[in-house]
């Protein structure tokens, strides 16, 4: 059966993505111990082999099969392979990419598939099966590497310099390049965006923690966690994690009453705690609410007056209660326990949320419970854009999706050569010109290849009006250019 054109197109796109991932993973396996990458390589190639058979790309299937032979040898050698072997594997990736791109049913004009397979068989025949390195067992699929980090304000301060460091490194050569690479990587690891995904899995531990604490305190709690999935920064995840920890513990310890007390006021014996987290427009909203006794505003007022935070003639605190209970060291408890009462929790929650640009609000009702609402701006960590490879510029340049390709500049409009304006080339190079406009200005990208739409991940974000920031396209680092800020 001949596969449909749609199916083939879909295969082509997925296969090229697989090959990109495999190529990056192969480099990672050779440069360091990376069991995750090793697993990924074998899995992806095997999947590609099956998919290619399904859509009738028998040539890709054949090269996959030979490549699997090569990869088996590499695995047996603990990935301690020589340059010839490395080259054969890399060329197999590229060869497959070329086969994937060719039109269905077209002749393999100029492509010598039997010759290529013969070359791989030659490498396999010459490669002795004796392992030269230790064979590694499959390791964990996720390895979290700790790296020192600096505060968010310090990152914002360092970011413009970091982007310049990237440009200098990428354009340097020889020993200078090696030196600058070390510097760039150190800065990148220190201030680059670290992504995290928040979901039910991250917060589930707080539910079991709440139930355990309730049992310890002789209370009954019915906890519900309704958590959506969102991409956030690692700092945001840390702040959310800390907030849920403190606010849920507070709800169990301070808010939810003991069963007999609840019975006296006509409530069911089990207190309810509900945690909701999800996207609301451009925000991530986290709500933690309980049906407990609520915050005693009288007790807060009394403590605030005693500490001199509120004048004694103030009768109603109004909205000020929230600010007071978030003061460092503020507590209405006479004694601190091992659970709470040191007046640290809410202070830490608010500080952590504010540090990542969020807000903390709350409403409480005497005898009816408290609801805490945290809103965090969702970071734009991933964006769609147009990627260009410009002659003499050793990294890709990306313009975000607000720039639209246009056939030619509007009559009389000045046109900016982006690479030249950024100082990435000394003179305007020849070649095909691609024009883009954002409605108010037109820019030119001189690139031999037509623009491709890509998904870029922001690595080092710089506040406006910086003309550029560092992004990654899979594993390749490049610049996201903001032409509207050139010259500012």
């Amino acid at each position: 059966m001949i596969p449909s054109e749609d199916l083939v197109d879909q295969f082509r796109g997925v296969a090229l993505q697989r090959l990109d991932r495999v190529e990056a993973a192969w480099a990672a396996v050779l440069s360091s111990v990376d069991d995750h990458a090793a697993v990924l390589i074998h899995r992806e190639i095997h999947t590609l082999k099956g998919e290619s058979r399904m859509v009738g790309f028998s040539d890709v299937n054949l090269v996959c099969h030979k490549l699997e032979d090569l990869l088996e040898v590499a695995r047996a050698r603990g990935y301690a392979v020589d340059e010839d072997f490395d080259l054969a594997v890399n060329m197999a990736f590229r060869f497959m990419a070329m086969l994937v791109r060719k039109k269905v049913g077209s002749q393999l004009r100029g492509i010598d598939l039997p010759g290529f397979v013969k070359q791989i068989e030659g490498i396999l025949a010459e490669t002795k099966p004796t392992p030269r390195g230790p064979q590694r067992a499959t390791g964990p699929l996720l390895v979290r590497r700790a790296a020192p980090r600096v505060s968010i304000p310090m990152r914002a301060y360092l970011a413009p310099g970091a982007v310049d460091a990237f440009v200098e490194y990428a354009a340097a050569r020889g020993a200078r390049r090696d030196r600058l690479r070390v510097s760039w990587h150190a800065v990148r690891d220190l201030i680059g965006n670290q992504r995290a995904v928040i979901g039910a899995g991250q917060l589930a531990k707080h539910k079991s923690g709440a139930l355990a604490l309730a049992r310890e305190l002789g209370k009954q709690v019915d906890a519900t966690f309704d958590v959506g999935t969102a991409e956030v920064t690692a700092e945001m995840l840390d702040a959310i994690d800390a907030a849920v920890l403190h606010l849920v513990r507070n709800a169990v310890d301070h808010g939810i009453e003991a069963p007999d007390e609840r019975a006296r006021v006509g409530k069911p014996p089990a207190g309810k705690i509900r945690v909701r987290c999800g996207m609301v427009a451009e925000w991530l909203e986290l709500v933690i609410e309980d049906d407990g006794r609520g915050v005693s505003l009288a007790a807060v007022r009394e403590r605030a007056v005693a500490l001199g935070l509120v004048a004694s003639d103030v009768v109603e605190l109004g909205e000020r209660w929230l600010d007071l209970v978030c003061q460092p060291g503020f507590t209405t408890r006479a004694e601190a326990s091992d659970i709470s009462g040191r007046g640290v929790g809410l202070d830490a929650v608010r500080a952590g949320i504010m540090e990542v640009g969020g807000t903390l609000t709350a409403r409480t009702a005497d005898g009816a419970g408290t609801a805490w609402t945290i809103r965090l701006p969702l970071p734009e960590l991933t964006l769609q854009g147009h990627v260009f490879r410009v002659a003499f510029v050793p990294f890709p340049l990306v313009l975000d999706g607000s720039w639209k390709l246009c056939a030619a500049p509007v009559d009389g409009a000045s046109v900016v050569d982006v690479a030249l304006a950024l100082g990435l080339v000394e003179e305007s190079v020849g070649g095909p010109t691609h024009y883009l406009t954002n409605g108010t200005m037109t820019v030119a990208m001189l690139s031999d290849r037509a623009a491709a739409t890509v998904q870029a991940r922001r690595l080092v974000t710089v506040a406006a009006p910086s003309p550029y920031e560092v992004i990654t396209l899979d594993t390749v680092e490049g610049l996201l250019v903001h032409p509207q800020h050139l010259g500012k």
Partner: protein, 125 residues
């Protein structure tokens, strides 16, 4: 021949130079380690642009003094070939490698490279 100073790389132990003309010449010599990859890729992209603009049909790549080239660096040559094969047939140019039989890696690598485009690539020793 016109000397193109911008189409050149001079590193500690690697050198690349281009002479443009009806039959362009790209000389690569020394050791092309991974630090050379990006500059070499940029040079090849630039060379491709110049060759297209000039309508050149033949390029000689002289690697007789290229002692060593990493796989990642060699990949830039593969990517360059891919650029050529993506051109309309009447705009493609041929690439002739002049290799050194005394350097073992060149033989197999170039034979494999030629499999990508037998109609465009020839290897001379």
């Amino acid at each position: 021949m016109v000397w193109e100073p911008s189409l050149a790389i001079r590193d500690l132990d690697f050198e690349a130079a281009v002479e443009l003309g009806p039959r362009a010449l790209l000389r690569l010599g020394g050791n092309a380690d991974s630090a050379i990859c990006d500059p070499l890729a940029a040079l090849l992209t630039g060379l491709h642009a110049r060759l297209r603009a000039a309508g050149t049909r033949d390029v000689v790549v002289d690697i007789r003094t290229l002692e060593f080239m990493t796989a990642s660096c060699f990949n830039t040559l593969v990517a360059w070939l891919a650029l050529i094969t993506e051109l309309p047939p009447d705009e493609r140019y041929r690439v002739q490698f002049e290799s050194n039989i005394a350097i073992p890696w060149q033989r197999r690598s170039l034979q494999t490279l030629a499999c990508f485009a037998t109609d465009l690539v020839t290897v001379e020793t």
